[in-house]
């Protein structure tokens, strides 16, 4: 059963359908927030908020768009609201509880995070949505309310900058061209 069919059934009050959707997207949404929120506890709260918001919004869901991008849209809005609240509280978004690498070397994860931190915020967000959430260019454009070409150019710019950060002294492609 597709996501769209499940959310339609959940909208009609099916508990099983909603639980199925939760099981499918529990891990991706967790990873979405875990890479962006300041700690595991906060990420857990935001995941809960996302699914609660999904529950609320299910009555308004129109099966014209992919459920996946719809759910990430909710998650992204919640993330933005949380960041805005964090700024209002004048609390720096310190990574007090950095994500743990379940596989791979911890220093690799740290290295990636540091490289991402050097990017402009817009570029970093577009790059992460593409690389981690695997959203399409159009979905990212819809989410960020940007033109499609802008998304593509910024994504390319982010990858170029990240490569320069990942490989010390190596903007190989730039030097080649």
């Amino acid at each position: 059963m597709t996501d769209e069919q499940l959310i339609v059934e959940a909208r009609a009050g099916s508990r099983e359908a909603f639980e199925a959707l939760f099981e499918r997207y529990r891990r991706p949404i967790w990873q979405f927030f875990r890479r962006r929120a300041s700690g595991a506890a906060r990420a857990e709260e935001l995941v809960q908020d996302t699914f609660v918001a999904l529950l609320e919004a299910s009555a308004r869901y129109e099966p014209r768009a992919a459920f996946r991008s719809y759910l990430y849209g909710i998650a992204y809005k919640i993330l933005q609201a949380d960041r805005r609240k964090t700024r209002l509280r004048r609390v720096e978004p310190l990574d007090i509880d950095p994500p743990q690498a379940s596989t791979g070397r911890p220093d690799t994860a740290l290295w990636v995070r540091q490289a991402l931190a050097q990017l402009a915020e817009d570029d970093r967000e577009i790059l992460m949505l593409r690389e981690y959430e695997e959203l399409s260019y159009q979905e990212i454009a819809d989410l960020r309310r940007l033109p499609l070409n802008t998304v593509r150019s910024r994504l390319f710019r982010a990858r170029l900058a990240l490569k320069a950060a990942l490989v010390p002294g190596g903007a190989t492609a730039r030097s080649r061209s």
Partner: protein, 408 residues
Amino acid sequence: MTANHSPAPEELMAYLDGEQPPEAARYFQGHLATCERCQLVAQDLRLVSNGLRAWHVEEPPDALRVPQLRTDAAPAAAGGAMAAPAVLVRLSSTVWRVVRARPYALSAAAAVVVLVAAALLQPALKQPPPMPVRPAAAPTASDHGSSRPAPLTGGAGGHADASAQAPAEGQATPPAGSLVARTIRLRIVATDLDAARPLIDRVIRDVGGLVGHVDASSAPGAPRFIRATLRVPAARLEEALASLRQLGRVTHESQQADDATEQAVDLDARIANGRITEKRLAELLRNRTGRVADVLEVEREMARVRTEIERLEAQREKLQGRVAYAMLILEAEEERRAKVDLGPIPLRARLRLAAVDGLGSAASTAVNAALLLLRAGPAILVWIALLLPAWWLLRGTKRRRERAIPDR
């Protein structure tokens, strides 16, 4: 990874990301097989992607569970209101977040609730239990044919001011069968005394009353006035008073009620005794067997008794009239309008007066402002202290709602 090469690196990136249409993808596939430069660009892009994917995060905690739904959840209509389970889940989530993240906010909200509840309950706690109220006796016709007067303010024999005209609930009323003679004094400053007299006549005519005495004065240089003694049927006294109050501004109103029950009973008894005496005397006179002098004495006594009975009956009728018709003493005075011609005021004097008035007004304003501050300031501070947490909670709720769902 830049331009000066066809296709552009961004286009190649889109191809590698699967964002090119099938025709273009076939072109890029063929081009990539032969173009070494594009192969290097693709290699760099893959390197970046692979590097990013090296950042794994831990698995979601076990505590992360699906928000609980009620099994009896009613299906929500498409595009309709939020489903009831969603509201409950959302509410519980919000409450839990406030409790965990902002306990001080919860404390403030609880304090507001307690204070408001205390403010609402305080009058109820202070209010004494209601006293049993004796139901007022229904007006009935008296034994002597007179109509029962309406309940009076202050009770029988009392004296009430205009500010306390309406009888209070549970107020004592004359017992059934009692007779009350009422006297009302009404003093009015009339705005238009010329219209007063016709109005008085019309009111008395409408209620079926009588004008006992009228004294009108229109001496030059003195305010005009009308003094009238009116007799108004007791049953329609309030109606007449309401109409007469429209003459102008009521400056004094008093009502007096005299209990005439005892007096009426005494008169009735004396009349009855007199009639019995008269009857016996008449029998003696019919069966006269004594001396002529005795007969003459009986006749004199009969005449005296008859006179006494008639006198008592006249008093009884007068008393009945006092009860049936209340006495209304009306004094209407023309409103005084002082006319003082001071002549032209010099400019200097006017300026001085204006300055004095200005200073007085400024001082009065300052005093009033200080008084207002002292009077209302503490209450305002209390309200700010009460409403600030509520405003904060509302703001938080509004921001949470701003997590708008994308319109799809």
